[in-house]
Amino acid sequence: MVNPILIIAITLASAFFIGILQVYSKLWAKVFFFLVLIFDFVAAGANFYGFLSGKITSPILVKIGGFPPPIGINLFVGKAEAAMGFLIFTITLLGAYHLARRGIPEPQGKAMVLFLLLSLGAAGITFTGDFFNLFVFIEITSIAAYGLVASAKTEKSLEAAFKYMVIGSISSTFILLGVVFLYKATGSLNMLDIAKKVKTFPLTPVFSLISLVFFAGLLIELEVFPINGWALDVYQGADPVVVAVLTGAAVKAFYLIFIKAGGYLALPSFFQLSLIFGGGTYLVSQFLAWRQRDVRRLLGYSSVAQLGLLILSAGFFLNNSLPSSSRHFIALAIVLFVFNHSFAKSSLFLLVDNVETREMEGWKGILKRNPLFKFIFSTSVFSITGVPPFPGFWAKLLLIFAIPKEYAWVVGLILLGAVAEIVYYFRFYRIASDGEGEKVKKNLASPLAASLILITGGGVAWSMFSGYMGIMFNSLIIVFLMVAAAIYIFGFSKPLQWTASLVLLGYGIYRFLPSMKANLHGFFLALVFFGGAILLFATYPTSKRLSWSFYPAYLVVIFSLVGIALSTSWLNLFVYWELMSWSSFLLVNMGKKAKRAAWIYAIFSSAGAYSMLAGIYLLPKLSISKIGVTGVLIPVLLITGFLVKMATSPLHIWARDAYGESPDEFTPLLSGIMSKIGVFGSALVFLYVIANISSGPALRYGLAWLGVLTAFFMTLLAVFQEDLKKLLAYSSVGQVGYILLGLAIATPLGWNAALYHTVDHFIFKGLLFVAAAGIIYRVGTSYLPHMGGLIRRMPLTFLAVLIAIISLAGIPPMAGFAGKWLLYSALIEKQWVFITVVAFLASTLAFLYCFKILHTVFLGQLQDENKNAREVPFPIAAAETILLVATVAIGAFPRLLLDPINKVLNKIPGMKNSGLFYEKTLGAVSKLGHWNALFLMVFTVGSFIFALIFFALTSARVREVKQLDVGYAGEVPRQVEDLHFGYDLYAHFRRTVKWLIYPLVSKIWKGIYEWTGTFAEVLRRFYTGNINTYAAYVILISILILHFFAGGK
């Protein structure tokens, strides 16, 4: 244990000493400055460690002057204070190191004194146990901050400093008045003493007013919504390094005192106060940042919002009516939030310091050329937005689940704000990663340290909370994540990465084989593993052009899918769901033109995930089992999250570009398996939640409509798509719509159809996307009209695609038909007439794009630029072959797939009799009809061969003609381009259905985005920049606080 007074006294004396030393030697002043900071860091760290390890059991009470607390001033250092002290000095050290590397502003000695005293003030605020002493330290912090904010001596920084100074003076006046009135009312200045006395008080309105004067001052310092114009200006105008320390350390100290004073003064309306101001600040600021173009101010809004969330949590933490366990969790959440935000935001501001420009546009493509910068930036952004496994994620989770159900609206508010946060942060991320930017200054040591601390913190948090939050922390999965990290960090060569990933996956299959039981979990687990292995195998040939982080992210996706499939609790599912979403976001973002798509993907998947989280929060228990739920809200919230991943209309608009622009190597996984995990989740919701509510049938009917309309509209959009991958994307989404329809039917036959189609869709769409990857690799474009005639160059791929398309279109002998047959049988059995009609129509429309794929890619005229295209490389061809064989085999023997599905369904109560039995001559028989797959296969293939032989024997001498030799209007054309009819094949049909393909949904979403942005833009004008106005806001809000929150008897 280090006596905290030593930290303060030595720092103070050193500040004076530096004042002398700088007169003589700048170098020694600098050295001394760092020695002091290191001393502080070590001392505070020792205290914190003492508390952590249990060596210090009771709070440290330092009597200054030797007088017992109420008489003399004392320092009070408990666990929280020790942690905060350590945080403050860590951040200060990082900031100081950064500043020293960049160059301390002249005169250096003075600047160092200011810097030292800023951290000293923050530490004093944290440690002190006396209200007036608190005021003194607040002033020390503030004046040091004024000086440092102005340190850049530019017009902007001076303006910011002046505003800060004016509002800060008003705030400290309030605090001083509050303290003096407190003294007058209680006869003491000591915090603990006052707290003791307050307990014996009749809490009169006047006493509430006194507390409120104090809190009004604190709330100004805490940058709550209407009175934080100054703070935003400081974030925008000041030197980023100073801001990093201010937001990372000083403001956090103010926050700690806010909580402590809230506890000591026992203000009756504290909860309402923090709820309104914290919640309001959080939500409003997240939206105000929506369209901010100045990076620093954007980060400022974000800081303010995070602080609002902290204030909100403080209200819950101090609410005595809450059970102590949930208050304990909220305390943990607060610790994590503070930790997370301090390091992440400081690191971001230190990064900002490396970039000249303030405008976001100036950040264009910065991440591309600066890998280390990218790493730090991503880490920080991910931490702040609460992406797993960073601490912010766990904090959010802890907080939300600790909030009691009667404040569910607060959870809604938090999640809404979180979505807004993701919108603007990832817009920033998008701009920063789009295109080729310039190299930046390399002053990255401090932010790097901060991000490493964040990552460590995330890992620690995960291992800590997994236990009592019921989150699976399967050591194996961690091993996989570590290997992924190792692959990332050491950046092995691509073939090695590929091999390592495959080996790892193989080992995973071996280890998880026992888990692949005949139940829903095992079913999807098998799909993930085997499907993932095939698709991973096919990535080899093109791996040269992939980013280093491709395989690690790929592995993380697969293993988070494993985590999802193995989940037995909803919370566990959610954690891995988020992990999957974000690692796949990284993968999508690797596409050259995918930045915008990845952004939209991030927004939608996180909004979906948060909706799911809200649903999970409302569930009475977390285990995935039958749950007695009433009302339609919970299932809707839950399933929305899954529907996003399935891209069900109207949540589909992310899908086209995310599928289309993501790396070709990743798209098969995205379509083939990741959308299926949405199916898995939806199946769980149908099974355990929707099945038990009274409005279940209505909800199922609604979802069935959603599914069938998705199928219809996405098919329609696919028809008019000119990009191979985007076409397949729409097709994929539409097919998943059928699966949703099958699930919504909720009869054994319907589920049979859904699960069958799940696997089958993986097979043929996986095949198509893998083939597309190969084709694009060979041809160099995914634009359909530029292809054509490739059948001669890639016969195997053509065959594979042909069979896949036959399967996709549902033409009998192939595997795809069984899904269609099961679905329609189920629908007719269910007697949903209109849905049946739409479903049929949608699958008819699918023929249009099926032909389009085959024609524009493989048939028609071979383009000159593709003359040298070759068959796709071996691993892709191999994957194609495997999937091709699977399609044919399942087509002939659908029981290969249907039997396991029946086993799965037999485990599910109510699905026992799958509604399907087998008869020798008729094949598969339902209550309504029958179909004999084997017969159809034999019949078709047999007749085909028979006809072929007959034809070959009888037909005339066949002469192959040259490419351009077509009977074209009586003359032989010379140019290929004129002959290849590949662009806008369905122009005529488009004219007919123009009203159906009007992009209504995307216009609505875009409208929501634009309007929110405009609204935020208008609302932001509220910060006029005029200091008079800011001061008026302060006075107005203080009046309101004094008027509305002065409760009491």
Partner: protein
Amino acid sequence: MFFFASSIALILIGLYAVLVKRNIMKMVIGLSIMDTGVNILIISLGFIRGKTAPIINAKDLLVRTSSKVVDPVPQALVLTAIVIGVAVTAAALSIVMLMYSKKKSLEIEEYKELKW
């Protein structure tokens, strides 16, 4: 009561300058006035009618001092508050001087670069 009212009035006058005046120098002066008001308020909160200053330079004061002198704590606090007020004013003035040196203007309208 008069002391309370007048010191609060001083605070309000100071704040009025901050709220209304367009000249940043005047705003700083307003802050200074506000500080003074606060200080007077603190002092008057410690006053007790008919009691003497808490300086014990006569023997008779040594016995049951608490019934003879005014509350010394607000005075001690005010001492600190005054110094802090001076410090803030000094810092404010230096900022104002720099601001003036940059733009040659003290008008608040000139300093609205940071907003929204």
